[in-house]
């Protein structure tokens, strides 16, 4: 039996599940099984194989999804502190990695790790990058200020609390279109 945790979230997995999975869950992201989702670089003439690089099996954690697993090699690492240290609302480390998969596609992984004294959860995002615009979008859509959203509005019963909650959270919401017409909820009655 294994058990892991990140922050206060915890998961426990019985070995039987791993056996049922054949040690590995089907990966909807993995082109090696499911076919490509993004354009590949043209194959070298003459049917040459992938370049001689230290390939290894890589599995990238992704919130809300099965890990993105592929055979590849890291080609870029870029870590940064995000947010003003004086601003308690958003202090986080942003760890960005770019990988080249063996089938010659780019994979981006972003981990946003909020400062430990913040009541926020780490964020993990991963995805294939087909073109430069997608990389730009990937980075801007996963701004570290997302972490602030992990803190729900406690005691927001009054108008004033609701207003302040809205004002405090409006910037990341506006940036990600969360308040747009696509928003839907049944108010918890389903």
């Amino acid at each position: 039996m294994t058990r892991g945790s990140a922050g206060s979230f915890e998961a426990t997995v019985d070995p039987e599940l791993l056996v049922l999975l054949g040690r590995r869950a089907p990966d909807p992201h993995c082109s090696e099984v499911a076919g490509p989702h993004g354009p590949r670089r043209p194959c070298p003439a003459g049917g040459e194989g992938p370049p001689d690089l230290p390939w290894s099996r890589i599995s990238l954690r992704c919130d809300g999804k099965l890990p993105l697993s592929f055979t590849g090699v890291p080609i870029l690492a870029c870590d940064a502190e995000a947010g003003d240290p004086q601003d308690l609302g958003c202090r986080a480390k942003r760890l960005f990695r770019l990988y080249l998969s063996q089938d010659q596609r780019l994979v981006a992984h972003l981990a946003v790790l909020p400062h430990e004294d913040l009541p926020a959860r780490p964020i993990h995002r991963a995805g294939y990058i087909a073109e430069l615009e997608e990389l730009t979008r990937f980075l801007t859509e996963n701004d570290p200020s997302d972490c602030a959203l992990a803190t729900p509005a406690q005691g927001a019963d009054g108008q004033l609390d609701a207003l302040w909650t809205a004002l405090r959270l409006s910037l990341p919401l506006a940036a990600h279109g969360c308040a747009g017409p696509s928003l839907h909820t049944d108010g918890g009655h389903s």
Partner: protein, 166 residues
């Protein structure tokens, strides 16, 4: 703290933070389960729990718990439970049965936690200013986003643990 399953006296009546169940002795052992669901008949089966995860955080007013079971009929059951710290909130249970594990994982990936956000509209809408309405709207949007982020983090935790153990 309200830790009772408001859906009734199921086989899983008293969820506790995982930290109080250090070895999780029930995991992997076949037993009878009765999961009462909202809007559906209770799900009755005998089977073993294959995995569980929970997002209990003392600072948060709610937390999720997910359980995966294998039944004796070799089907798989997913239960997603939402618990509240407040006694005034009703805990919610959703459960489904699947033929395969990939179908179950797909349900986790597509579960929209926005459906768990209650819209408490305070005040008289006819007398509210545009700014107040905007604030209410933003507050709801923020809570929806927070719920989705919260659940996605838990799902990622479960999948990452499966991946790390494999």
């Amino acid at each position: 703290m309200n830790v009772m399953n408001a859906a009734g006296n199921s086989a899983y009546d008293a969820p506790q933070p995982l930290t109080s169940r250090p070895d999780n002795p029930m995991l992997g052992l076949p037993r009878d389960h009765k999961i009462r669901r909202m809007g559906a008949r209770p799900l009755l089966f005998r089977g073993a729990e294959l995995a569980m995860c929970m997002s209990f955080t003392p600072e948060l007013p709610y937390w999720y718990e997910m359980n995966i079971y294998r039944t004796e009929q070799q089907t798989f059951v997913l239960a997603i439970r939402l618990f509240f710290q407040s006694d005034s909130e009703r805990d919610r249970v959703r459960a489904w049965e699947f033929d395969t594990l990939p179908a179950l994982f797909s349900q986790i990936e597509t579960y929209d936690a926005a459906q768990d956000v209650r819209f408490d509209f305070t005040g008289d809408i006819a007398r509210m200013s545009a700014a107040e309405l905007a604030a209410q709207s933003l507050d709801l949007a923020a809570r929806v986003a927070a719920a989705r982020l919260h659940f996605a983090g838990l799902a990622g935790e479960l999948f990452a643990e499966m991946d790390a153990a494999a």
